[in-house]
Amino acid sequence: MAKPELKWVPTPNDADPSTDSPAQGETPFALVQGQPVTQLPRDLYIPPQALEVFLEAFEGPLDLLLYLIRRQNLDILDIPLADITKQYMTYIELMQELQLELAGEYMLMAATLAEIKSRMLLPRSGDVISEEADPRADLVRRLQEYERFKQAAESIDQLPREERDTWAASAATDLRRPQSRLPQIALQEMILAFRDVVSRAAMFQHHHVQRERLSVRARMTDVLAAVDGGAFLDFVQLFKPEEGRTGVTVTFIAILELMREGLIEMVQTEPYGPLYVRAAQTPHLRPVEGEPADNPTEQDS
């Protein structure tokens, strides 16, 4: 694993002076068993990419640290901090040389190691020791905790799992599998539904916009003016369909309001016959007085 120490031997001819150079030119690689190897095959050299792969395999600073500890069979509970820190830094430098993108966590760990080491160097009097644990304790706890889950991950990986170790068995059946089929929706129904939505939205829209312009009060005045002569007026004629739904509604409310206030009367000559409106026979002055003040801006509409 100690790839950093590997060295490339660039001059094969100098490597072994005892070899016969003419023979070497003909069959340099075929005599591995019979002859001493005279030339290092190129692919024995470990290219930097391989090292990169190896270094990238670490799952973080704790993983790297654990690797360093385990590789040397060190006791995790008694880490020689100076050595480990030195080795850790070598790897970090190597990673930087290879321009691997180093996560900030790696640098943080380097700093933590240095800090622990420096705290261990500080002289400790008996009183102080009683207050503080070994400076390594927290790091050891984290390493142990990480190692537990590293192992747990391995044991989860070894669990017999679907698609790798087992497969659900099934059998074909002639029985029709009843499929809960969702109802088909004809395009027409959708269009109709959409039309409803649009018309409902339109209602809101008109109501909202025209509220500014249409005043029930103003419309009451209009209706009163229309029936001013005292003659009967066809109820339907009071409405202007071109004003749309809102306009018609406002007129209707105006009529209701006028009736409530007793300013107009409504008569019907026969059941289901046309309705007629006329001004009330007994004048009520009070509400009429209030009208102009109520709707100064709408007069022109």
């Binding site: 509970l77 020791i129 304790a137 590293k150 747990a152 698609e163 087992t166």
Partner: protein
């Protein structure tokens, strides 16, 4: 209704269902006959499992219920039915999954603090897409981080009935064990140190 009949219906339904079936789901198949209770079905399942004893398939109970599956010892040959290799999961994914499984409910930050590196969002996404984990709630701290937990699908996939069936976590060696060794570098007064550091783990401060 004969035991034989019940057994065959169970076998057939497990093969037809395309998913594990619980005892109560199986018992519903018999409802109209009104003759089978759950104990009877359990007996029939046991008998069926016994029958499968030396066959290529086996009966297994997972979180969602019983299923008939290929016996693991034949996985090598059976996997050759499909040219593509089964998906291999990265260590990062497995470690993240392990933390969620053993420590659920757990936040991403808690996963990070154990693993020492940031949680890869793609890993969480993959685990979610596989329906192995889900958000089970939010921790009541600032930011309300999501709490992650495993699903029944996760248990089914790994052939587990409950989360307790996960392999046990390794024990952590107690700090008290480590104290004498830790104090070796401070060689001048090893005996008194040992006592004093032991006091740190709440053991009182009396001399040993």
């Amino acid at each position: 209704m004969s035991d034989h009949h019940i057994r065959n219906v169970i076998e057939a339904s497990l093969l037809a269902a395309d998913k594990p079936m619980s005892i109560s789901e199986i018992s519903e198949l018999f409802d109209e006959d009104g003759l089978t209770d759950k104990a009877q079905i359990q007996t029939a399942i046991d008998a069926l499992a016994l029958e499968y004893g030396d066959r290529g398939i086996e009966l297994r109970e997972t979180a969602s219920g019983w299923r008939i599956q290929i016996r693991q010892s034949y996985a090598r040959e059976i996997s050759r039915l499909w040219p593509e290799r089964p998906q291999k999961y990265s260590r990062a994914l497995l470690e993240t999954l392990a933390l969620i499984a053993y420590r659920q409910p757990i936040t991403r930050a808690e996963i990070e603090s154990v693993r020492g590196v940031a949680v890869n969002p793609n890993i969480v996404k993959t685990l979610m897409e596989r329906e192995w984990i889900r958000v089970v709630g939010h921790r009541d701290v600032p930011g309300h981080p999501e709490l992650l937990g495993t699903t029944r699908r996760f248990l089914d996939y790994f052939g587990l009935r409950t989360i307790d069936e996960l392999p046990p976590l390794a024990e952590i060696k107690q700090m008290i064990d480590l104290n004498p060794q830790l104090l070796l570098p401070v060689a001048e007064v090893p005996d008194t140190d040992a006592v004093v550091v032991a006091a740190d783990s709440g053991e009182g401060d009396g001399p040993a």
